[in-house]
Symmetry: C2
Subunit: 343 residues, 2 copies
C-alpha cells in the first residue's frame, strides 16, 4: 500500500512535469520565428498603409527564411541569415538600411549569429560599410577563429572575405535623420532630462531585428541585427552583438534573439538566461521566456521582447511593450504576422 502511494506520488510528479514542460499543445509548431523590434507601437500612428508595409516586409522575411529551409541541405543558419537580410534591406527596421544615426551622424551596425549544434558564434560591432551585417557575423563565425570583431577591423575582415561593400550613405534614410535631429534638439533643450532617465525612452532602442530557426536535422540557429540606439556616442555597443545577451542558441534547449533596452539585456544576460532556465530548471521554452522577461526591472527601463524556439518547433514571442513586430512560419509554409499586443 505504501509502495503504491509512493509510486503514485512520483507518477503524479512526472505528469505535472510533463504538462509543465509542454503547455502549448494547441500552439502550432514553427520552423522559423522572427521579430522586427518591440516598442510603443501606437495604433493611431501606424496608418493602414504603413502597417501594410511592415506586414509585407515581415511576410517576405518569413518567406525567405522558409525558402532557405526548403533548399537541399538548407540549414537553420541559412534560414536565419536569409530572413534577417530581408529586414536589413527594408528601410522600415533599425538594421542595415534604415538604421538609426549615432550622435555624430553615422550609421554603426551590430549583428550576431549562433549555431545551436556546435555553439559556434560570430558577431560584428560598429561596422559601417557592409550591406548585410548578419552576413558579416556569419563570416566571422565560419571564416575566422574569433567570435567578435569590432569597428574598422570588422569592416576590413568582411571585405577581405568578399562581402558586399556599400558606401556608408547607403544606410541613410530621411526618417532616421529626422529622429536624430529631434534627439539632438531635445538634448540641447534639456527635454530628455524630463524623463526620469533617458533609459526609459523605448523609442531610442527601437527596431532591432532577429530570427530563430530549426532545420530538418533539428539544428537550431539564432541571429540578431541592429543599428543600435539613436544619438548613441562613444562607440556604445548594445546587446545585439553580444552572445549570451542579445543572441544565444543551444540545441539542447532553444535559440533566442532579443530586442529592447540593450544595457539591461546585457546586465541580465537575457538570451543565455532563457537557455539556463530551460536547462537547469527544466522549464518549457514559453515558461523560460516569460520568467526572464518578467524578471527585468521595468521601472529602470527593462523594456523589450524576445523570441525563442526549441528543436521541436515550440516557441515564445514575449514582450512587455505595446507591440512587437513579429511572425512565424510553420513546417507546411503557413505564415503568421502580428504587431500589437493581444492583451
Amino acid at each position: 500500500m505504501c509502495a503504491l502511494k509512493v509510486t503514485a506520488f512520483f507518477v503524479l510528479l512526472f505528469l505535472v512535469g510533463t504538462v509543465r514542460a509542454d503547455p502549448g499543445e494547441a500552439q502550432p509548431r514553427a520552423v522559423l520565428v522572427l521579430h522586427g523590434g518591440a516598442g510603443t507601437i501606437s495604433r493611431k500612428k501606424l496608418t493602414p498603409e504603413l502597417e501594410k508595409k511592415y506586414r509585407d516586409d515581415l511576410e517576405a522575411a518569413l518567406r525567405a527564411g522558409y525558402d532557405a529551409l526548403q533548399r537541399k541541405s538548407g540549414t537553420s543558419t541559412d534560414a536565419v541569415e536569409a530572413a534577417i537580410k530581408v529586414l536589413e534591406d527594408s528601410p522600415l527596421f533599425n538594421a542595415g538600411k534604415g538604421a538609426v544615426f549615432t550622435h555624430d551622424g553615422r550609421n554603426e551596425l551590430d549583428a550576431s549569429l549562433m549555431e545551436g549544434k556546435t555553439k559556434k558564434a560570430g558577431a560584428v560591432a560598429g561596422i559601417t560599410r557592409i550591406k548585410n551585417p548578419i552576413s558579416a557575423a556569419r563570416a566571422v563565425m565560419e571564416q575566422s577563429e574569433h567570435v567578435l570583431l569590432a569597428g574598422e577591423g570588422a569592416d576590413r575582415f568582411a571585405i577581405s572575405k568578399g562581402l558586399k561593400e556599400v558606401s556608408p550613405v547607403y544606410f541613410w534614410t530621411d526618417e532616421r535623420w529626422r529622429q536624430l535631429q529631434k534627439a539632438l534638439r531635445d538634448e540641447e533643450e534639456g527635454r530628455d532630462k524630463k524623463k526620469q532617465s533617458k533609459m526609459e525612452d523605448p523609442e531610442r532602442y527601437f527596431g532591432t531585428v532577429g530570427a530563430v530557426a530549426v532545420d530538418r536535422d533539428g539544428n537550431l540557429a539564432a541571429g540578431t541585427s541592429t543599428g543600435g540606439m539613436t544619438n548613441k556616442r562613444f562607440g556604445r555597443v548594445g546587446d545585439s552583438p553580444i552572445i549570451g545577451a542579445g543572441t544565444y542558441a543551444d540545441n539542447e534547449t532553444c535559440a533566442v534573439s532579443g530586442t529592447g533596452h540593450g544595457e539591461i539585456f546585457i546586465r541580465h544576460a537575457v538570451a543565455h538566461d532563457v537557455v539556463a532556465r530551460m536547462k537547469y530548471k527544466k522549464l518549457s521554452v514559453a515558461e523560460a521566456a516569460r520568467e526572464v522577461m518578467a524578471g527585468l526591472p521595468e521601472e529602470r527601463g527593462g523594456v523589450g521582447g524576445l523570441i525563442a524556439l526549441n528543436a521541436k518547433g515550440r516557441f515564445a514571442m514575449e514582450f512587455n511593450t505595446e507591440g512587437m513586430y513579429r511572425g512565424y512560419v510553420t513546417a507546411d509554409g503557413k505564415t503568421f504576422v502580428e504587431i500589437f499586443s493581444p492583451k
Copy 2:
C-alpha cells in the same frame, strides 16, 4: 509507518542537498580572490627570481584590495578596482602595462566591472590611451547610461571623465614585443599551422587578470582586464569585456572572473553559467565552477580558468591548465598566493 518512510526520504534528500551545497567547511573564507591568468606555466621556465616577482605583485594586489575594503565605506567595487590596478601596472601580466601586441603592433585593452547588488556593469573594448582600463570600465558603469563602449569612443569617454591618459607607448614592454615578433615569424613560416588549430595554443590567451570581492555589506563585485591575444587583428574582442562571458556578479549567487581562451568563454557564457548553475541547480560555488570548467570542450581549445566568490566568502579557483596565478585574502588580512596546479 509509510508516512515515516516518506518523511525519512525527504529528510535524507534535504541532508544530501545541504551537504552538497556547502562542501568546503574546512576552506577559509575570503574577502577578495584574484587571478593573473592561466596557462602552461612551466616550473622550469619560471626561475626562482621571476616566481618571486609574480608572487610579490600578486601579494601587492591582494593587499591593495584588502586595504580598500578596510577603508570607511570601502566597497567590493573599490577593492576589485584597487587589486586590478596593481596587476595592470605590473609589466608581468597581460593587462595595462605589459599587455600583448596586436598584429599591427598596438596595445588594445579590454576591461569590465560588475556589481552584484544592482547588476550594474561597465566595460571598455579596444582602448589604447587610458592607464588603467579597469577604471575606465568603472567610469562607464557609474558615469554613463551604457554598459559597453568600444574603440576610440571609449578612450574619449574615459578622458572626458578625467581618467589618467598615457601615450600608447606606455604599454610597450620588450618581452611582449618579442612575443609578437615570434608569432609573426611563426605565421609567415606556416609554423602555427602545425598546431591543429591556433586555438589550441594557450600562450596566445595568457595573462588576463581579474578579481572578485565581497564587502562588509555582503555586496559582491567582479572585474577583469586584459590585453587580449598576441597578434590579434581585425578588432578582435575576447571575453574579458563581455558581461556574462568574462565577468558577472549577482549578490544572490556569486561574482566571477574568467581567464583563458576568450572565444570559447563567450560561446559558453562562462561567467553567467556559473551563476545560473548556482541559482537554478542550487549548486555550491565550488561545484558550479567545477561543472562549468569541466563542460568546456578542451580538445577544441577550451583552456583557462576562473575565480568565483559568494557573499559568505566561499570561493573557487578552478583551471584546466598547468597553472594559474592566483591568490586570496581572508577577512583578518591573511594572504595566500599560488601558481602551479596542486595536482
